[in-house]
Structures are given as C-alpha cells and as structure tokens.
C-alpha cells in the first residue's frame, strides 16, 4: 500500500453501450476534473489472466541436494567420448561406402540422417512428456498454495494451466466451457480451485477409478490362473506400468518412456511416504479377506494380494498425476476400489 492516501474520486461516464441512454434533463456541463481524460480499463478476467506477472511459484525446497558431482562429470564425459567414437565410426563407414560406389554412400548417408532425425524426435518427445508431468506437479503445488492462503495469483496460474492442459480435448470440452463461464464472477481463490476441481477434474476421477479397478481386476484374475511365478512378475509389472501411463494420460500428462519410469519412481516414493498411513485404515479387512480367499485357493489368495497392491499403486499414481489436490471431493477409498475389483465375473467379461 502506498503511504500517500488516495482520496475518493468520481469519474463521469458517458452512456455505455450496454445501457439504454438515460434521459438527460440537463446538459453535461460538469466537466471531469482532470486535464487529460483518464484511461478506463473495464474489469475483464480474461485480460487479467493474460497479464499475470511472471512470478516464480512458491514451492517447497527439494528434499535432496542436487548431486552435480563427479558421477555426473563421469557420465557426461563418457557419453561425449562414446558419441565421438560413434561419430568417427559412422563417418569412416560412410566414407568407405562412398569409396566403393556413390549410390551406396548416399544410401548410407540417407539412412544415417533418418536415424538421427528419429533419435532427435524421440528425445524431444520425451522432454515434452517430462515437461507435461512437471506441469501437473506445479499445478498441484500452486493449487495447494492457493487453497491454503487464498492467494489470487496462484489461483489464476492454476486456472490458466488447467485451461491450456485441457483445451482441445473432446472429453473435457463441456466441463471446461462450464468453468470458463464463471471466470468473470467474483470468486475467492480457494473457491475457484474448488470449482475447477468439481467441474473439471472430478469427472476425470471417475474414469481414473475405472482404470485402476480394471487393472487391479485383471492382475487378480491373471495371477490366479497363471502357471508360472516368473511370468506373474513380468505381467504384473507390465500392467502396472500401463496403468500409470493411462492415468497420466487421463489427467493430461501423457508420459513417454522416461516419463513412465520417473512416474513409477515417484509412485514408489509416494507409497513409501503415505503408504504407511493409507495401509492402516483398511489393511485389516483386506488381510482377513486375503486369508479367506487363501483358504479357498492359494493361487486366488495371491491374486487378491496382487490386486490390492495394484489398486494401492493406482491410488498413489492418481494422487500424483491429478492436477489439483483432493480438497472438495473425497479421494476414492481403497475399499471402494476393492469392491470394484472383487466384482470379478461380470465386470471383467464386460471390460474385455
């Protein structure tokens, strides 16, 4: 706040477009008290959102110190050396092809160029995918901050982020248009986030829950019927990775290969941190359930355990990839997920 007090002021407005001209009894003899006509900028939320100050979002300090140490130097040096070696080898190869005949040389060059472009594209795609994942993380941090402190800037950033994330998707078009309708309303920052969560993200949650339940059900069933323990491991891992990718794609963070690995690492970390708590609420019933299932059939008992694990991984991934934290809607309880999973017969037949 400026130290100088600003006194109340009046600015006469001429008839605005959207208001019928009121009958004027007396001519407007009263002049504005200013020399130059003041510039009037009507409050327009969309304009405001574009002119946001570029402020670095408040984020918690990273837990680990960045390890730009000898390991990095070693890897960088090795990578540089290897790429030099590869370059020399390829160059020599192409040169020898040219020496044999011109067309062979050109073909080799063409193939090499195509391979180079493809490699570049893959790197670019992976980087984009990582950036998308990072956007989700940043949105979540901003939304938490906006809800906790009623920070208008953070809320505006979240809204802009959500808009760019979900624009151009057919399944979110309707929800997004409903959200944009309220943009010019006067709503508190925390309310805005709640609104976005209810109107935009909650419909996606249902689909996310279905993805988790479907994967868990498949894992349960196939573990129960698979003939080989080693096959189990491979299969469960594949299904889980697929689930992670599907969930991330659902919320707008479609990951590449590196992205999926990163996501998997985040999920494991999340499970390690939050898992202990989440475990305690329902684990008793589930172990009892597993015990019962195990009495019926050892394989089936194992399948159930794998299914529960998959559902828990799914829950963690949902928490991580969701652009907003759970605030106004409640997160899907593991019990609900397990109920989905346990509807084995009909559900699976329909899903497949």
């Amino acid at each position: 706040m400026s130290t100088r007090t600003r006194h109340p002021q009046v600015f006469r407005l001429d008839t605005e477009g959207d208001k019928p001209a009121p009958p004027r009894e007396k001519p407007k003899s009263r002049k504005l008290r200013r020399v130059s006509a003041p510039k009037i900028e009507w409050h327009d939320e969309t304009a405001e959102a574009e002119n946001l100050p570029a402020r670095v979002p408040v984020r918690p300090a990273p837990l680990t110190r960045s390890r730009r140490h000898w390991g990095t130097v070693l890897i960088a040096a090795m990578a540089g050396f290897l790429s030099l070696a590869f370059g020399q080898w390829a160059y020599g190869l192409v040169e020898s092809f040219f020496a044999r005949s011109a067309w062979l040389g050109w073909t080799a060059t063409g193939l090499l160029a195509a391979a180079g472009i493809a490699a570049l594209a893959i790197v670019l795609r992976e980087m984009l995918a990582l950036a998308r994942l990072r956007t989700l993380e940043r949105l979540q941090a901003d939304a938490t901050h906006a809800t906790a402190t009623d920070d208008a800037d953070a809320a505006a950033r979240v809204m802009a982020g959500l808009k760019s994330l979900y624009a151009g998707r057919a399944d979110t078009a309707w929800d997004l248009s409903r959200l944009v309708e309220h943009e010019a309303d006067i709503i508190d920052p925390a309310g805005r986030i709640r609104l976005a969560e209810r109107d935009l993200v909650a419909p996606l949650d249902e689909e996310g829950q279905r993805i988790i339940a479907r994967t868990a059900r498949r894992v349960t069933l196939l573990t129960a019927v698979s003939p080989n323990a080693a096959l189990d491991v491979v299969f469960v891992a594949m299904q889980n990775l697929k689930m992670l990718r599907q969930l991330a794609a659902l919320y707008g963070g479609r990951p590449g290969t590196i992205g999926t690995v990163r996501l998997a690492r985040m999920v494991i970390a999340h499970l390690a941190v939050a898992g202990g708590l989440a475990l305690s609420d329902t684990v008793v019933q589930h172990l009892i359930g597993k015990g019962l299932a195990g009495r019926l059939s050892a394989r089936f008992g194992e399948g159930t355990v794998n299914g529960i694990l998959t559902a828990r991984i799914g829950r963690a991934a949902l928490d991580l990839t969701r652009p907003l934290p759970f605030a106004s809607t409640s997160p899907p309880a593991l019990t609900d997920l397990m109920r989905e999973v346990m509807r084995l017969g009909g559900g699976e037949a329909q899903a497949e």
Partner: protein, 481 residues
C-alpha cells in the same frame, strides 16, 4: 423461574420440530441484521436465485444439478403476513423506476420448498428429497430489543443515559435531556409528561440513526419502527434519571415507566423472540460495515456493540442428539459484510478483515460454543461493475454504476440517472486504524441504484451477486443430503 419456563418452552417446541423434521425436514434460516443491512434484499435475491436457477457456482446442490425444483409454499402460519416477495421483485425490476425495496415495517414470513435428489438412503425413503426453508423478515430495529429481555427498567435507563451523555450522542440529545431535568421520578404519574418524554426520546433516537451519525444501538426498536403498535401505551415510556434512587412508590412517574417497560418486554419483545428466533438452525448476520465506515469510528463501535448484544440472545452451538431434545441451536453462522459491491473486489479481503475485527468478540464466542462460522464480503444483488481507471500514472480500482439520486462525493451530486465510476478510497490492510477512525474522510461509499435486470445466459433472468453462493453453501449446502 422464567428461565426454566423459557427453556421448557423452547425444548417442547424443538421436540415438536424434531418430530416433524423427520417427515418434512425444515431449515429455519435466521436472517439477522440491523435496519438497512440488506435483509429484505438478501431474502429476495435468495428466493429469486433458487426459484429461477440462478448462477450459483459455489452452491453445490444447485451447481451440480441436484435441485430439481423450488417453489414458494402457501403461507403456513395464518397469523403472519407472507413475505411480499413479488412486490419486492417488482420494485427491483421496474426498468427505469427500479429501486431498492422500501424498509421493512412489519413482520413477514416465507416458506420456500426445494425438491432435490437426495443422496442418502434414509432421506430417499422418508421425505424423498424435499426441504422447507423458513425465513422471517422483520424490521431490523426490532432486533435491538432482544438484549432488553435481560435488563430491568432501572438498568436499561441508566445504560441509555450514560450512552446519551457521551459523544457523539450528547449533541443530539439536547432537547430530551432538557426535558428530562424537569421530570421528577417520584412525582405522581402524569400521562402528558410521560408522553412528552417518550416523544422527545423517540426524536433523539431517530436523529441518532440519521446518515451523519449512523448509530446502531438504539433500543427500544419499536420506538423507531412501531409497526402495528403506533400510539399504543406500550410505547409511551422513556428512561429517567434514577441515579441513587430507591424503587419509586406506587403511582409515581418512575413506577408508571417501569410498568410500561416491563409490559413492553413481556408483550412485545419476548413473543417476538420466542416465536421467531428461539428455534433457528442457521443464521446469517448481515452487517453494513461500509455505511458505518462512512460515518466514522463512533458508528463502528456502536455497530459492534449492538451486534454483540443481539447475538448474545441466540442459542449457538454444535448440533447433537441432545440438542434436539433440549432446544435447537444455531450450528452455523455466516457474518456477512453486505453491500460489498460498493467496493472493488481487490479490497474485499480487507473488508472481511475489518468485519472480523469488528465482530471478533461475537465470533469467538460462537466458535467457542462449537458452531461453524465464516466471514464473507457479500452483495446479494450486485449493483455495480468494476473498472480500472488509470490516472496520472496510477491505477485506481473503481466501481461503476448509477448512484442514487442525491448521493454525493465532494462537490459532485448525482442525479440518479447518469452512470459514474467511483473510486471509494483505499481500505487499510490492517483493520486497526479503520476501527480507530484514522481514515476519516478518506473513504466514501455511495449508494447505487439496483442493476438493470438483464437476461443472463440461456435467457434466464437472474440478479448478479457477489459471493451469495458461498454464503448459501455454508449455510444450507449440507442440508441437501
């Protein structure tokens, strides 16, 4: 003894309510506010928004489409007039003649029924998703009578005199004080002098209420807004200077005044309270902070004291199974700084801070008793638009609308027809200086005419508002189970 009887009365009442609530769930919404705080406009806007499916994005039952239909029930209580919703709506939507509803002069009641999609197993099988919302509208002045229930005539008399001898009231009370000096409480009662005292006392109260002073704590309320008690002997009493006197003998002026005061409390105040306020479920306290800020620190302190006194009368606390048996309690209160549309939304946080500082003692007490509370800057009907005016390299956050005829800022006087953008001044980030009156002259909030009633999206005509949805969600959002 009376306390015990009252408790029993309230318990019996709420036991009946609990029984009927199983079949017809009812929410009694207490719209509390002193006069000109915007009660009538709030009720009209609330009803209109529910009836016509208004834009209430944060009111989840409506925004998620669970409300199927809302309608006004025929007046359930045959002794009370119905809230003249249609009349008020007509006043607000009268095109070029649009104006805010006249100030309320009598008690009226309204029952709004909302049909919704119930989510609970029990609700689905009993009442099938129908909720009654009962609202009472009344002149805000009458609310000030509630603290009188616990005051004797002598105590009230002394308190009123002390207040009237302090600034800024002393200069308004001159003629009444002069007459008071000529009265001897021990003298034989005379109707004429009692009536004269009451007349001068009423005039003093009325001048305290005028815009310049804008004081709030002015009981007894019926003196300013007599309703159907005009010229009744119930209203011909006034405080007397009783310093150091023993209770007067029979037939004295003091005895007459005391008898009338007691009759006023018994026949006017207590029925008003027990019929309408003793069994509320939810409460919204509308506070016109901006008008009080206009008038200065005395008005603010007075407002704070008046509201504290009034809220003291309500039964507040968390709901439990026992509360159904031993009297209903108010378990959620919204403190709303009304008319927030007279201010740019960037300043609403500061307005909320001032409101919280103003009502801190009342809010703390409510919170301590277990009720949920929320403070919100609200405008049930938003009369202005917002604009940033850049002038001399400085951005002024202005509001624009059509100011009421006769409103003025500095030398500018508005004619009630032309639109103007107004910069009302900066609210301070810290509420303390505002309460201490250091902002005298730096702020000026003018009244605006109601907004033109324009059709909204899909042709539905609803009033614009500020945070009405947030207040509603807090008050009744959880009732749509």
């Amino acid at each position: 003894m009376t306390g015990l009887i009252d408790e029993t009365r309230m318990a019996l009442g709420s036991l009946g309510d609990a029984a009927s609530g199983l079949v017809h769930p009812t929410i009694r919404l207490g719209v509390t506010g002193l006069s000109r705080a915007g009660k009538t406009v709030f009720i009209t806007a609330l009803v209109h928004n529910l009836l016509h499916g208004g834009r209430l994005p944060l009111f989840s039952p409506m925004a998620t489409g669970r409300i199927a239909r809302a309608y006004l029930e025929p007046q359930p209580d045959d002794r009370l007039p119905r809230f003249p919703y249609e009349e008020h709506l007509a006043a607000l939507t009268a095109g070029d003649d649009r104006h805010w509803p006249e100030s309320t002069r009598r008690l009226s009641q309204l029952r709004l029924t909302v049909e919704y999609e119930p989510s609970g197993f029990f609700a689905r099988r009993t009442h099938g998703g129908r909720l009654h919302i009962d609202i009472v509208d009344y002149p805000g002045e009458w609310l000030l009578d509630l603290p009188l229930m616990s005051l004797t005539y002598e105590a009230w008399s002394a308190a009123t005199l002390v207040a009237s001898r302090a600034a800024p009231r002393d200069r308004l009370a001159g003629s009444w004080h002069a007459h008071l000096k000529s009265l001897d409480p021990a003298a034989p009662a005379e109707e004429a002098s009692a009536a004269e005292a009451a007349r001068l006392f009423t005039a003093y109260l009325a001048s305290c209420r005028s815009d310049d002073a804008a004081l709030s704590s002015l009981p007894p309320g019926r003196f300013l807004m007599p309703g159907d008690l005009e010229d009744s002997p119930l209203l011909t009493f006034a405080p007397l200077d009783l310093e150091g006197r023993t209770p007067g003998r029979r037939g004295s002026l003091q005895a007459l005044m005391r008898r009338r005061y007691d009759a006023y409390v018994t026949h006017v105040v207590r029925p008003f309270f027990f019929d309408h306020f003793s069994r509320l479920d939810r409460q919204i306290v509308l506070v016109d902070v901006l008008t009080a800020l206009n008038a200065g620190p005395a008005a603010l302190t007075d407002l704070s004291a008046a509201i504290y006194g009034v809220l003291d009368c309500f039964r507040v606390g968390a709901k439990s199974w026992a509360s159904h048996l031993f009297g209903r309690r108010i378990d959620a209160i919204v403190f709303a700084a009304s008319k927030a549309d007279l201010l740019h939304h960037a300043s609403h946080d500061r307005l909320e801070a001032i409101l919280e500082a103003l009502l801190s003692s009342a809010a703390e007490r409510a919170e301590f008793s277990g009720a949920r509370i929320d403070a919100v800057a609200m405008a049930a009907i938003r009369a202005t638009r917002e604009a940033i005016i850049t002038e001399g390299g400085e951005d002024l956050a202005c509001i624009a609308g059509v100011p009421e005829k006769g409103e003025k800022i500095g030398k500018e006087i508005f004619d009630g027809n032309s639109e103007a953008a107004i910069f009302p001044g900066d609210l301070p980030a810290d509420p303390a200086p505002a309460l201490a009156g250091e902002l005298e002259g730096d702020l000026k909030f003018v009244r605006f005419r109601p907004p033109p009633f324009a059709p909204g999206p899909w042709g539905a005509r609803v009033f614009p508002h500020i945070r009405l949805d947030r207040a509603l969600e807090f008050l009744i959002g959880d009732a749509f189970r």
